[in-house]
Amino acid sequence: MNDHHEQRLARVFVELADTLVDDFDMLEFLSMLVERCVELLDVAAAGVVLSDHRGALRMAAASSEQARLVELFAVQTDDGPCLDCVRTGLPVYSANLAADEARWPRFAPAAVAAGFVATHAVPMRLRRNVIGALNLFKAEPNGVDPASVQLGQALADVATIGMLQQRAIDDNTVLVEQLQTALNSRVVIEQAKGVLSAHAGVDMDHAFTALRGYARSHNLRLSALAFTVANGTADLTAIMAGGERPARRAQR
């Protein structure tokens, strides 16, 4: 591990622990976690699912919004490493997804079809409670390497602690408020992707990229921007014009 990597890592840990802000947004926070995982770990994709308190797991964030990856979290309502991980509170992995179709009849084939060879899920644990799981994917054989798994678990731990310490609380009231809000914001984002997709004739991945790009370049929260798209008050053309050549597109 070189110096640059270590410095980068240290910065990420500080970033994940820095949740003592008034306007903490869990969805943004988890999006950052999965993006950092893909940057720092030897993995192709990462995502976070959260328990919705109603007996289901829901995707909160993914390192990309390609339909095939999003679908991989959706099928884990039925089976998959995240479901096993949240149920047992233990890490769950497969170094060869093609051989695990009997174990995960829906998830394994979907993961293989999406181009993944191996997966590893680590629990996001708060004291005795498992609130969700961080799911790592690899596109090359031999599984997710031990160093990446360890680091992934450490990132998940810091993130989970960060989510709790964000307000000094001794019960799970605030956590439940934020979890539920994040899960609903996730639905708003899906609705907004649909609106943009219908408006511009692009696929969901492009719609999301445009949404996120616009939020970042205008210093807006993704969830807040998505809400304006979903309730019909956003300028869809401006969002789809995005950061690339906005001037030319704006003339249309």
């Binding site: 308190h53 959706a74 799970n172 934020q178 609705q191 649909g194 309730n231």
Partner: protein, 244 residues
């Protein structure tokens, strides 16, 4: 945090309300759901307000006068836990209405609520993304948090209330939901399709979702399957037709 008894919380809440309805020989309704909440969750009262689209919530059912009063009060002063829950799309759980932090957050609402006899208020928005169907509010005469198991059950009952309201919006009789399909709200494509239909028809998200469901019922097709067709652009909703 999830889980006591092992059963799916939503299914368990559903059987509570169904049992309650069967015992009274009545159909499942919002009112029965509120009464069930009071029976099961150790709260003083339950109130369900709906948003008919005007931005002015209406009280659909309140198990006691205090609940109705709290809803009215928040409407009058324009602030309170239910207002924030509806706006933010997440629950607002207030364990002590008389605490200084709470008073700071809702300076108009809290003193009047405490005077009226409420000390804790738990507001659960009934929403699917940008769709805001209403709020389920539970109040207690004593301060204190909802214990984790009760909180899980409250979320499940709120989920059930949401389904009842969505069924109404989709012009369906409450309680007749086909369990096989259910409402696959965990499926991102359902929400993506709703967004696309909203764009195609130029209607709000509520209307778009109701249209998607109506089309699924009419064609006897699973909602998720129909949604996948919309997302893959095999099916497009046209503004002129489809007034179902």
């Amino acid at each position: 945090m999830s889980g006591h008894g092992g059963a799916n919380p939503l299914a368990r809440a559903g059987s509570w309300v169904a049992d309650h309805a069967a015992a009274l020989g009545e159909p499942v309704s919002i009112g029965l759901l509120c009464e069930t909440a009071v029976d099961r969750l150790d709260v003083s009262g339950a109130t369900l307000t709906v948003d008919p689209g005007s931005g002015w919530p209406e009280t659909r059912y309140a198990t006691d006068a205090l609940g109705a009063g709290l809803a009215e009060l928040q409407l009058t002063v324009g602030e309170g836990p239910c207002v924030d829950a509806e706006r933010g799309g997440g629950p607002v759980l207030v364990t002590d209405l008389d605490a200084p932090g709470t008073q700071l957050r809702w300076p108009l609402f809290t003193p009047l609520a405490v005077d009226a006899g409420a000390h804790a208020l738990f507001a659960f928005p009934l929403c699917v993304g940008a769709i805001r169907a209403g709020v389920l509010a539970l109040h207690r005469a004593q301060a204190g948090s909802l214990e984790p198991a009760k909180l899980t059950d409250a979320l499940a009952l709120a989920g059930l209330a949401l389904r009842l309201l969505l069924d109404e919006q989709a012009d369906r009789r409450a309680g007749s939901a086909d369990r096989a399909d259910g409402l696959p709200l965990h499926d991102p494509q359902v929400h993506q399709a709703t967004g696309m239909i909203s764009g195609q028809l130029g209607v709000g998200m509520e209307e778009a979702f109701a249209r998607l469901r109506a089309r699924a019922f009419a064609g006897q097709r699973p909602l998720a399957e129909l949604a996948a067709d919309v997302v893959a652009r095999r099916l497009r909703f046209e503004p002129t037709e489809d007034t179902t």
